[in-house]
């Protein structure tokens, strides 16, 4: 990982902008008595707008709480003891970087956990900021470059970032091993799906080692779904051609349904409804362990055993399945004071075990699968180390 950004200016500037501004004295416009008639109209309209907006936001947690006043406090003095760290977040606003656009899995998890994490930290608010782009690399780069005071956290893409790292993908300016890992809430299973009426099962797929290449679809060479598909087809020796020119699932799935190709990989939640309606078939889970409620679909590891692959190839599938199961990695920039990281990890654990959180996740059909910060950090380390075995299979033909 040679391309770690150590540009101090950029980091300082980015974090300065990302933080909350202590408000310096509230100016209330009392109607503009001394304004001229015309600008009085303007002021009245603005006031009307404000009133409506204030009403709309009155019940917002962040609106009801006082604005953070002390974010600019020097962290050095308070980072030493655990006692001061436990109260560090009280009344402060935490910035949460979502490495994808509005709407979508990464924001969904952030939104889901926001009230419970806010409560567990004692923070005044969590401010969710979207930094989409580069798959999810832009947000990860941003988080990596943020000020390590513990007030900026985010949920980065475990699988995508590990693949990006082991494949030395361009655009990576972070060192995944150095993030301060907080924990993981989820286990979104990625699945390989086919258009209904083409390939019915994994058994049929692995028998297709001869004949015309199957056409697979993916959302860009940087996406984990692309990497996982290429690895699988290479390992199973299935002739394929991959069309990786879709911008996202919202263009890729219609492409699959209208016949651009026959296979694609996606998060289970994105295809659940289509599968239930019989429009796509779920062939296998790109995981080492079957997801709860999805036991009828074999994992890629099981399919590898069924196909009597060599031990080396089965290991590749194992490592790939492990990487694909990493989930949303909640993390802070490298160098967050240990005491504060401990507070973040504890609050995170409290939040994901909150009955309210569990119920809300269940309603959204999201699978909660908590992993602690240290455990997840170890998993990521080993994925980064063993990840090299997948590299030789991750080149598209």
């Amino acid at each position: 990982m040679g391309a770690v950004v150590s540009n101090g200016d950029r980091r300082a500037a980015a974090s300065a902008w990302a933080r909350f501004l202590p408000f310096r004295g509230a100016h209330m416009d009392r109607g503009g008595d001394d304004l001229s008639r015309k600008s009085g109209v303007l002021a009245a309209i603005l006031a009307a707008g404000l009133l409506a907006a204030a009403c709309g936001g009155a019940s917002a947690p962040q609106a009801a709480s006082p604005p953070a006043k002390t974010t600019a406090a020097a962290p050095a003095t308070s980072s030493g003891s655990a006692a001061s760290a436990s109260t560090f977040y009280h009344g402060k606003t935490v910035t949460f970087i979502v490495p994808a656009g509005a709407a979508g899995g990464f924001e969904a998890w952030a939104l889901l956990i926001k009230p419970y994490l806010t409560k567990a930290l004692g923070a005044s608010a969590i401010d969710i900021v979207n930094y989409p782009g580069g798959g999810t690399l832009v947000g990860a780069n941003r988080l990596y470059a943020a000020k390590p005071d513990g007030l900026t956290i985010g949920d980065i893409n475990g699988a995508g970032d590990v693949f990006a790292a082991v494949r030395h993908q361009k655009g990576v300016t972070f060192d995944l091993a150095k993030f301060s890992i907080i924990g993981r809430p989820d286990a979104e299973t990625h699945v390989l799906v086919s258009r209904a009426g083409t390939i019915a099962s994994a058994s049929q797929l692995i028998g297709m080692t001869k004949g015309k290449p199957v056409v697979a679809l993916a959302t860009g060479v940087g996406s984990p779904d692309y990497a996982a598909q290429v690895i699988m087809y290479n390992v199973f020796g299935i002739p394929y051609s991959v069309v990786a020119d879709y911008r996202g699932t919202s263009t890729e799935l219609p492409g699959l349904l209208r016949g651009d190709g026959v296979l694609t990989g996606a998060g289970y939640s994105a295809v659940r409804s289509l599968a239930a309606a019989g429009k796509v078939d779920i062939l296998l889970q790109e995981a080492t362990q079957p997801a709860p409620g999805l036991s009828s679909v074999p994992t890629v590891v099981a399919v590898g055993q069924q196909a009597h692959l060599s031990a080396a190839k089965q290991k590749v599938l194992n490592v790939m399945g492990g990487i694909m199961s990493l989930g949303k990695v909640f993390a802070a920039p490298p160098g967050v004071p240990a005491a504060r990281l401990a507070v973040l990890r504890k609050a995170f654990a409290t939040a994901v075990q909150d009955p309210g959180f569990v119920a809300a996740a269940k309603k959204e059909h999201r699978i909660v699968s908590y992993a602690s910060g240290p455990a997840l950090q170890a998993t990521i380390q080993s994925a980064l180390q063993s990840g090299s075995v997948v590299v030789q299979y991750s080149k598209a033909k």
Partner: protein, 722 residues
């Protein structure tokens, strides 16, 4: 459950007091926030998402769908009053809406907009209802070659709609494509044209591009034009109310046009990713082609507002089709609605219609109710809003600039993107000054990725077989026709004139006299040179990228370079100028003012189609149309008011740059009051109490709306933030 029962259940969900209250709240929030450029759409809706956790499904749908549907009318309000579309897709409303405001008919335009939006929303909702059984198949009808052609067609049509010449129209659209290729290429993982700035990894933000090109540039022009740009109009509320009523009646007098435009918008909206952007433009352009007053489009005529506004909500209703049918959102708004449905525990997609039919009906019902409610709220405010438009232009400028910068921050949370507003304002200013189409640039920007992705997909999946597809061929043919027919018609006309002589005025159209080359100013020659240099640099840079990432930028950049060279040569070769710098047709039909102007009188397509074939009929056809302004020109200077002096323009940009630098260094909450005080107090020499009042009001606005209500922290600035 029977369909009828499901419908009743869906409609009944709205009758509950909580649902009705939230529908009203959503409408109000959408109306307020939608009127702030950059904030509409995704931002408001994502701010609402956290509340959905605590609300049952029925009322929650009422809240979020109402907020979504009410954004569009208030986005049109700012398009009409300040040339600042709430969302890029509302830009077509600025063409005639803002021109009406400049003529003092803001109230009328708002009245038109309110009623037309409502009618479009109703028709769109009913269309959605009708399509529920066949939704899935419709979405899959179009394939990559069609998307490719649609994105080219959209850019070509919008370019020719407003630009002063063929090449200017083409360049306007293509430059939008070029800006769209900035940043990370999702397919290859390569960063392009990003100058190693983290802020540009994801390219320029659409809110920044649209705000800079439309709103901020127009504010600089208002400042530069100074008091010479005094707006006229009824200053009394009663007068404005009468105008609003007049506007509402305008729609009913043009009922057929409204109906047609709604249908066009709806059909366009069914095409995910493309239709939402181009629907309104398409309605506008078809309305113009089909109108007998087509040469007056762009000068502020009611038809020019009715067409895009009727399409505005119809296309949004249509964008629910891919969402409900397949669970794939076609627009940013529906992407957030998808999140909302997920939060509520409802999976969008085929199962939604099978298992939650009442919910689908509820969505339709909310769209129906909100279409009218948002307009009613807007209409109540319209007379007041219209009075804002009677303020002198230079006084409005600092308010819009401040709100625009705040909106850009909210949309991006990135200071480099906010500063890029100045760049796009400069481009927009130059474009307006020299008769380019900023709307085409914005459409090109939005569709750039659609073009690129579908070009690769077409190449991989179809190759030349793409031309074996009839819809593709038809679309390609239309592209060629839009570009080639106007010059061809002109050429034929010229041949006819020189050959046959003809009766009446034909003598006056003898060799050499009808089309005299327009003069080209020094500034324009400089701009033409910049085109060549910038596009050459772009192509050179793009060639350095690996082929999959560099091919499309190279091809499009090459097209820009070719057009730019022609454009540049046009500055020196008068024979080329009819396609490069517009025509100065000495046509009596277009009025003496137009004939004398250096500017092209109407956009190229209109020039050809509108020009009478027989000169003898020219005067009669033109006579019945009452010309509200002396020159029916769609482009600056005449439709856009006085030409600002170079000195004041430079001063305007200096103020803008100073404001941007202050925001960057000292933060919004210092920069905004400073702008108000310096601008109103010192530059405009308004009374100090007024400047102070404005400073306090805007400070309160920025703090209360952004920081408190929306929860968007404002950056403290590089110096104060440490």
């Amino acid at each position: 459950m029977g369909t009828g029962a499901a419908f009743l259940q869906g409609a009944a969900a709205l009758a509950a007091p909580v649902a009705a209250g939230l529908l009203l709240l959503g409408t109000l929030a959408g109306t307020v926030v939608g009127s702030i450029p950059g904030l509409g759409g995704a931002i408001l809706l994502t701010v609402l998402l956290p509340f959905l956790y605590r609300i049952p499904v029925g009322p929650a749908i009422a809240l979020i769908v109402a907020a979504h549907a009410s954004i569009y009318f208030s986005g049109s309000i700012t398009a009409i009053l300040f040339n600042s579309p709430g969302a890029p897709e509302s830009a077509a409303t600025t063409f005639d809406g803002y021109a009406m405001t400049r003529r003092g008919e803001a109230g009328r335009a708002l009245g038109i907009s309110a009623v037309a939006t409502t009618l479009g929303g109703w028709l769109g909702s009913l269309g959605l209802l009708a399509l529920i059984p066949v939704m899935g198949a419709l979405v899959l009808l179009l394939h990559p070659p069609e998307y490719l052609m649609l994105s080219i067609l959209a850019v070509v049509i919008v370019g020719q709609l407003r630009a002063r010449s063929l090449t200017k129209g083409v360049l306007s659209g293509l430059v939008g494509f070029l800006f769209a290729f900035v940043g990370y290429d999702p397919v290859t993982g390569i960063q392009r044209f990003d100058f190693n700035l983290l802020s540009l990894y994801n390219g320029f933000n659409i809110a920044v591009v649209a705000l800079g090109l439309f709103a901020i540039s127009e504010m600089v022009r208002l400042f530069a034009a100074g008091s010479g740009d005094q707006r006229s109009g009824e200053a009394t509320l009663r007068g404005q109310a009468a105008k609003v009523r007049q506007g509402m009646e305008d729609v009913f007098h043009n009922g057929w046009l409204a109906l047609r435009s709604s249908v066009v918008g709806f059909l366009a909206g069914l095409v995910p990713g493309v239709g939402g952007v181009v629907g309104n433009f398409l309605s506008y352009s078809l309305a113009r082609v089909g109108s007998r007053r087509r040469e007056q489009f762009g000068t502020g005529i009611p038809e020019g507002v009715i067409a895009p506004e009727s399409s505005s909500l119809a296309k949004e209703a249509a964008s629910y089709v891919p969402l409900l049918a397949l669970g794939v959102p076609g627009t940013v708004g529906t992407a957030v609605i998808l999140s909302a449905l997920t939060i509520l525990g409802v999976s969008a997609g085929p199962l939604l219609v099978q298992r939650h039919l009442p919910l689908v009906f509820e969505i339709v019902a909310v769209l129906l109710v909100t279409s009218a409610l948002a307009s009613a709220v807007g209409l109540l405010l319209a007379p007041f809003l219209a009075r804002v438009a009677t303020l002198p232009g230079p006084v409005i400028a600092p308010f819009v600039i401040a709100v625009g910068f705040l909106g850009a921050w909210a949309a991006t949370r990135d200071m480099i993107q906010v500063l890029a507003l100045v760049l796009f304002a400069a481009i927009g200013f130059a474009f307006m000054r020299y008769g380019y189409s900023v709307a085409a640039s914005v459409v090109g920007f939005v569709l750039g990725s659609v073009l690129e992705r579908n070009l690769y997909l077409t190449e991989k999946l179809f190759g030349w077989q793409m031309f074996a597809r009839p819809i593709t061929d038809l679309l390609a043919l239309i592209v060629v026709a839009v570009l080639a027919v106007p010059p061809l018609m002109r050429w034929l006309r010229r041949r006819g004139d020189t050959g046959a002589g003809g009766p009446g005025g034909a003598a006056a159209r003898g060799r050499g006299s009808p089309e005299r080359p327009v003069a080209v100013s020094r500034g324009e020659r400089v701009l033409d040179g910049v085109w060549v240099a910038a596009s050459a640099w772009y192509v050179w840079t793009a060639r350095g990228y690996p082929s999959a990432a560099g091919l499309v930028p190279t091809v499009v950049g090459g097209a820009v370079l070719a057009a730019a060279v022609v454009q540049f040569l046009g500055g020196f070769l008068p024979r080329l100028r009819s396609i490069t710098h517009g025509t100065g047709i000495a046509d009596p039909a277009l009025g003496p003012a137009a004939a004398g102007e250096t500017a092209g009188v109407v956009p190229a397509t209109a020039a050809a189609t509108a020009a009478p074939t027989a000169p003898a009929t020219a005067a009669p056809t033109a006579a019945p149309t009452p010309a509200p302004t002396p020159a029916p020109s769609a482009t600056w200077p005449s439709a856009h008011g006085a030409v600002p002096s170079a000195r004041r323009s430079a001063a305007g940009f200096l103020v803008l740059a100073g404001f941007a630098a202050t925001v960057w260094l000292l933060g919004f909450l210092v920069a905004i009051p400073a702008l108000m005080l310096v601008y109103l107090g010192t530059l405009e020499r308004r009374p100090w109490p007024l400047a102070l009042g404005a400073a306090i009001a805007m400070e309160a606005f920025a703090y209360l709306l952004f920081v408190r209500a929306l929860g968007i922290p404002l950056p403290p600035g590089l110096l104060l933030g440490g």
